[in-house]
Each structure stands twice: as C-alpha cells, then as structure tokens.
C-alpha cells in the first residue's frame, strides 16, 4: 500500500496513494498506520482524497488505526470521496471521526 507521509504544521499527514483500501490491502494498511503513528505525534490526518473505494475491511482497518493510537493522539480524516463517504455514513462512523472535506487550510499553508 503506497502512502505519502508529510509533517504539515502540527499534524502528521498520511496520504493514501491507492484507489482502494479493501480486504486485500487492509492488514498491510493497518500495519503501516501503526508504524507511522508510533512516534506519538499528537495529531494525525489521514488524507483519503485518492481513495475511490473502501470496503468493510478497509473501514475496520481505519477504526483499528484510531484505536491503536496513544491517549494523547488523535486521528482525523480528510478528503473522503463519494463512495467512501457513503460507507462512513451508513455505518455511522462519520459520527465517530473528525472529517475534513479537504486538508485543513492551515495545514496546507504550513507545508
């Protein structure tokens, strides 16, 4: 799973550079998220703007990534495409995560 990691302002931005997070890639994605966030960065933004499709395994991996964070860390999501948004809405996971329609402006500027 290709991801691009960038420190923007106070946030570690992890951009998924694949068009899907599915059952074939969920475990690898979960492992990558654990490695990338173990430094303890307080704010992690997962940029999903390139991801056109997510299945329930992919959703489970994102939930697992959030649960794997330390108590002082927070995971936010950004750039959900329509089908990904639909999966979050139907499962009501959109009520659990902070979701930005785009990368927060202050982050983009800080980069």
């Amino acid at each position: 799973m290709k991801v691009v990691v960038q420190q923007l302002g106070d946030a570690l931005v992890i951009r998924v550079d694949q068009d899907r997070i599915d059952a074939a890639s969920a475990i690898q994605f979960k492992d990558q998220m654990r490695q990338l966030t173990q430094s303890g960065t307080p704010r992690v933004v997962l940029d999903l703007a390139q991801v056109a499709f997510i299945d329930s395994s992919g959703l489970g991996a994102i939930v697992a990534a959030m649960k794997g964070l330390g108590s002082t860390q927070k995971l936010e999501l950004s750039g959900l495409t329509d089908t990904v948004k639909k999966v979050f809405r139907l499962t009501r996971m959109d009520t659990v995560f902070t979701i930005h329609s785009d990368l927060p402006v202050n982050l983009a500027k800080a980069g």
Binding site: S56, S57, T83
Partner: protein
C-alpha cells in the same frame, strides 16, 4: 419466453477465485462491463459496496477452510439489477443470512472493527434470498438501477 426474460437487456457473468485479491480483480472486471459500467456514480458506488461485501464474506467464511470459485451473474431487469451469487463453500450458519444489526458507537475504546459487512449489504440491497442446495450456496438480491430503466 417468460415475462422476466422479456425485460432482460444486459447481463454479465464472471467467475472469481475465492481470495481477496481475486475479488478485487473480479470486481474491476464486473464494473468494466455491462450492465454495471452504465450506472451513475452513485448507484455504481452502492453496487460496488454490496458486491464487495458479499464476495469478501464468501471468501472469509464459506471458503475459510477450503479454496474454490464464486460465480457472479448480474442481469439488468425490470426492477433493477438482479444479482445471483453461487459458491461451493460451507453453508451459512443456521442456514440463514446474518442479521447485520447496528452496533454501539458510544464507547471509543470498544468501537467495532468488523461486522459492518452484512449491515451494509442489508442497508443497500433489496429482496435478499439465501438457499442451500446440493452443497452449493445461492444468494440472490436486487440493486437499484433507476437511472437505466425507464
């Protein structure tokens, strides 16, 4: 010719080997051909969510202890997309479809990481029917395709 066949316009048929990567490729193939490639973006998203969950469930459960094939047929009918999925894996537990109940989201530490599959399928698919006959599982359901059927 039956009434149903009169309305049949387009159909697709693929056989997918029961593993996660083959499911990804099988979905790509299905959505590249008629009738699924004609759907609006919204209905295509709905169809892909349901098809992915159905196929992944078969890989993870019916074929948990063996390998095998999954046969997918999709017909564009009068009332939407008629989907039929067949596999030779283990039967559904208690010979029925999982309920896919909603789950609690109020405990941050205890959020579910799975169990969304049947919830999504039941939210989006219509007329779900499951049967078991001669060591085969048959799943049928309908997906909306309003944009196509006037």
């Amino acid at each position: 010719m039956t009434a149903h066949q009169t309305f049949r316009r387009q159909a697709s048929h693929v056989i997918v080997h029961a593993d996660a990567l083959a499911v990804r490729h099988g979905l790509a193939s299905l959505f590249a051909q008629e009738p699924l490639n004609c759907l609006s973006d919204d209905l295509r998203g709905t169809a892909e969510i349901v098809m992915a969950e159905v196929l992944n469930n078969i890989v993870e459960h019916a074929y948990a202890a063996q390998s095998g094939a999954i046969e997918v047929s999709i017909d564009l009918g009068e009332n939407g997309l008629e989907c039929a999925i067949t596999d030779n894996g283990a039967p559904m537990p208690s010979s029925d479809l999982p309920k896919g109940k909603p789950y609690a989201l109020d405990q941050m530490d205890d959020l579910p990481e799975g169990g969304f599959g049947w919830f999504l399928i039941r939210s989006l698919a219509q007329d779900l029917q499951y049967s078991r006959f001669r060591d085969q599982n048959f799943l049928r359901f309908r997906l909306p395709a309003h944009a196509l059927v006037s």
